[in-house]
Amino acid sequence: MNSIPATTVVSDRLARNVQRNIRERAIESILFGAALVSVLTTLGIVWVLVSESLNFFEHVPFSDFLTDTMWTPLFSEPRYGILPLLMGTITTSLVALVVAIPLGTVIAAYLSEFASARVREIVKPFLELLGGIPTIVYGYFALTVVTPVLQAIYPDLPGFSMLSAGLVMGIAIVPYISSLTEDAMRAVPMSLREGAYGMGSTRFQTAIRVVIPAALSGVLSAYILGISRAVGETMIVAVAAGMQPNFTMDPTEPAQTISAYIVQVALGDLPHGSIGYQSIFAAGLSLMLMTLLFNILGHVIRRRYREAY
């Protein structure tokens, strides 16, 4: 039996290169630092929101915040029920999604499955442009173009309405939904389409029965992202939906959303440090929890419906 030497001899060529090692470590720490920025920012925001909200909840009972149907921080007898703002947010978001999800999906299906390369080259930049328009422009578009048009149809519609803001917000998020949905559909392997066409499917049948089901996890993620954007959208609703908290889900009425309320206070309607001022942190925390919920939901859906090819 041969004995194995206790120490192994490493040739010079295989020995660790100290200088390279140091360089690699340095690069790794820079990259780690970059990743850390996003984590620390998120944690910082959460910390500010939570600590300021705790301050706020010392003066306002948590149960009032969740159940009171009035949000009147500017009154001499202020009331802080988040429900009217929440309903404003949900209503405008629903109106927006009713527009954006069907429109975005149809555009994506068209671009991915029907359009020729030339048409796609023309349409896609326009969609990207639509996504690049500042939301304040959309807000004034809603106020000065869409609202008058809607008023021509429904003369009773007030100057500010969740309907008008929601419709325009829907248009604004179409590019996000369509581009992510299209990416998901185009990622479906060609072999699956060939299988569908080989069975005698039309293009429409292939798109609806095979490509969209195969891309379902990506499509649903696109929808969730669209929902998150609608919930957090600020300028369009601040400009076009009105600034009055309104305990209603009727889209033809004006109402304030959570985000629009934060804008109002940030503009200086309430003195810094007052309870009313601190209410924006509680409102912001609610908004963040909502988007977080949708992000988690999106994550679950992605895992649940992912198809492996």
Partner: protein, 260 residues
């Protein structure tokens, strides 16, 4: 109905068929019969055009821009040139089924995969679907393995089972001609043997045209073999003749492994 010298009915044939990928002349004056209720194998080295030829029989090339057919591919009994511009490729694909290189089940249940062709054709009766699906799955020797889990996703099946599911998917619509594009190239030897066994069973029921890289496979499953090289059919004949007594030197070189 046209026949060969041995008086066998011809299910389909090509006449002076040429095919172009853009400016690339991929198939050159192909004249090939496909005998009804028999298996015809296309063999040849990579890039010889055998898959291109196969994919012309259901006009799969229509899906991509820049492809051009020239000449005729005639489908019997109605003597239709399927390359005619008045012919709807969807109608062609309703009559000609295709099984691909890699199993490509749809992201649906086993049941819905087999029902797919029937649903596309407008079949709605549940009892009719149930019957045809059972027949098709039995025809593809898959029924016993999946009958208790028809509602499970097809992607959970093994590769060989998925490929048999794809065959069942075609069988459900009673295709007149079934195209196999290297159906076992992604499968292990046991699954390959199953598919070969299946092709042997199906040949009394449906006309089959199969592309294969594996010469033993062609010898085992086919009645007729066409050897292709550089976009041309070099030799066509009864499989045993082609393998045992090839007429052309190139065929012999390929079959004996001296080339390819």
């Amino acid at each position: 109905m046209s026949t060969t010298e041995q008086n066998l009915p011809v299910k389909a044939f090509t006449r002076d068929f040429n095919f172009y990928y853009g400016s690339f002349h991929a198939l050159k004056s192909i004249n090939l019969p496909v005998i009804e209720k028999h298996v015809t194998a296309l063999i040849g080295p990579s890039g010889c055009g055998k898959s291109t030829l196969l994919r012309s029989f259901n006009r799969m090339h229509d899906l991509y821009p820049g492809n051009r057919y020239q000449g005729e591919i005639v489908l019997n009994p109605d003597n239709t040139n399927i390359l005619d511009t008045r012919v709807d490729p969807i109608e062609v694909r309703m009559r000609v089924g295709m099984v691909f290189q890699k199993p490509n089940p749809f992201p649906k249940s086993i049941y819905e995969n087999v029902a797919y062709g029937l649903r596309v054709r407008g079949e709605k009766s549940r009892s009719m679907l149930d019957d045809k699906i059972e027949d098709a799955l039995r025809g593809a020797s898959l029924w016993n393995e999946v009958k208790d889990r028809l509602n499970q996703p097809a992607t959970a099946l093994s590769g060989g089972q998925q490929q048999r599911l794809c065959i069942a998917r075609c069988l459900a619509t009673d295709p007149e001609l079934l195209l196999f594009d290297e159906p076992t190239s992604a499968l292990d030897p046991i699954a390959t043997a199953n598919i070969e066994e299946l092709v042997t069973q199906l040949r009394d029921r449906v006309t089959i045209l199969i592309v294969t890289h594996n010469m033993q496979q062609a010898a085992r499953v086919s009645h007729y073999t066409a050897y292709m090289y550089l976009g041309e059919v070099v030799e066509y004949g009864i499989t045993d003749e082609v393998f045992l007594r090839p007429k052309k030197k190139e065929t012999e070189d390929y079959i004996t492994g001296r080339f390819g």
